[in-house]
Symmetry: C2
Subunit: 141 residues, 2 copies
DNA sequence: GAAAACTCATTCGTGAACGAACGGAGCCTG
DNA sequence: CAGGCTCCGTTCGTTCACGAATGAGTTTTC
């Protein structure tokens, strides 16, 4: 792993490119092990089960999704019957989201798969390397 | 950095979530420093300048983009006048892409920015940590 | 030399990211 | 209480990912 000189640019060594490739591989693993939910849908459902009833914007912030993005994700989760939305009587701007019975069941069933997805994504690294990698990655967020 | 027990799932500690957040930050840096090209457009242009005339499919493989994705990226680069497309007389299925004069100039101008983008993305890490991180990340692609 | 197998490019559909603009609603300060 | 600031949700437009299907062209194989 050499640091390239300013006049020698190799795309394949750039963080952005490597991040994209690692993400691609991870998404393929995810789609194979959890075909019924997309990563964002699972993230939103997981956070919702963790937090309980939450406004749409707040859920977006908790899952690091754009306001426009969480809207679409929430709509698709509602269409699947995993999430219910009710207007907040105390604040009429708010749409309060909560997992349905089916949503909680789906989350409970998906959790072991989520661990497997993480494990398989990190599989090329040794246990020590995995810890190192995750710790460094967390600092780039 | 603890490894969570199977019954304690925290979204914020999952590789997929961290990858997404790191990518988000990187994309924001990219958009700020290279507003005229998207990361994929830059990647395609860079590979094209590196490889010379290349078929669309081959460029897709070289940049780790789906066939359907590279089509759109190539179309947008053509619309910007940075890339030209000609049918291959030797193989009439092929569309051969090549950078235009403007494309080469744009790439030459963008290269220093690309280095700055990489540097800024990795800025939270020490020089040693950067090497470690990039090496580990490369193995997850 | 003809059928089978493969390759190249295109198109369609779904899911997603995110900036920008918008209107409705609450809050805060003068 | 009125004007302004902020927040909430929605919609629009552009870009991208990727599976699937299709049609045209090329190579392989028998």
């Amino acid at each position: 792993m050499t640091i390239e000189a300013p006049d020698d640019y190799r795309l394949d060594a750039q963080v952005g490119f490597l991040l994209r490739k690692a993400t691609q591989r991870h998404l393929a693993i995810f789609a194979a092990l959890m075909p019924d939910l997309t990563p964002r849908q699972f993230a939103a459902l997981a956070k919702l089960c963790e937090l309980g009833p939450t406004s749409q914007n707040a859920l977006g912030r908790a899952t690091a999704m754009d306001i426009a993005t969480i809207k679409g994700v929430a709509d698709r989760l509602r269409a699947k019957g995993l999430v219910a939305a009710l207007p907040d009587p105390a604040d009429r701007r708010r749409l309060v989201l909560a997992p349905t019975e089916a949503g909680r069941a789906s989350y409970a069933a998906a959790r072991p798969e989520a661990h497997r997805i993480t494990a398989e994504t990190l599989e090329p690294l040794s246990p020590d390397e995995r810890m190192t990698f995750v710790a460094l990655l967390a600092r780039l967020g």
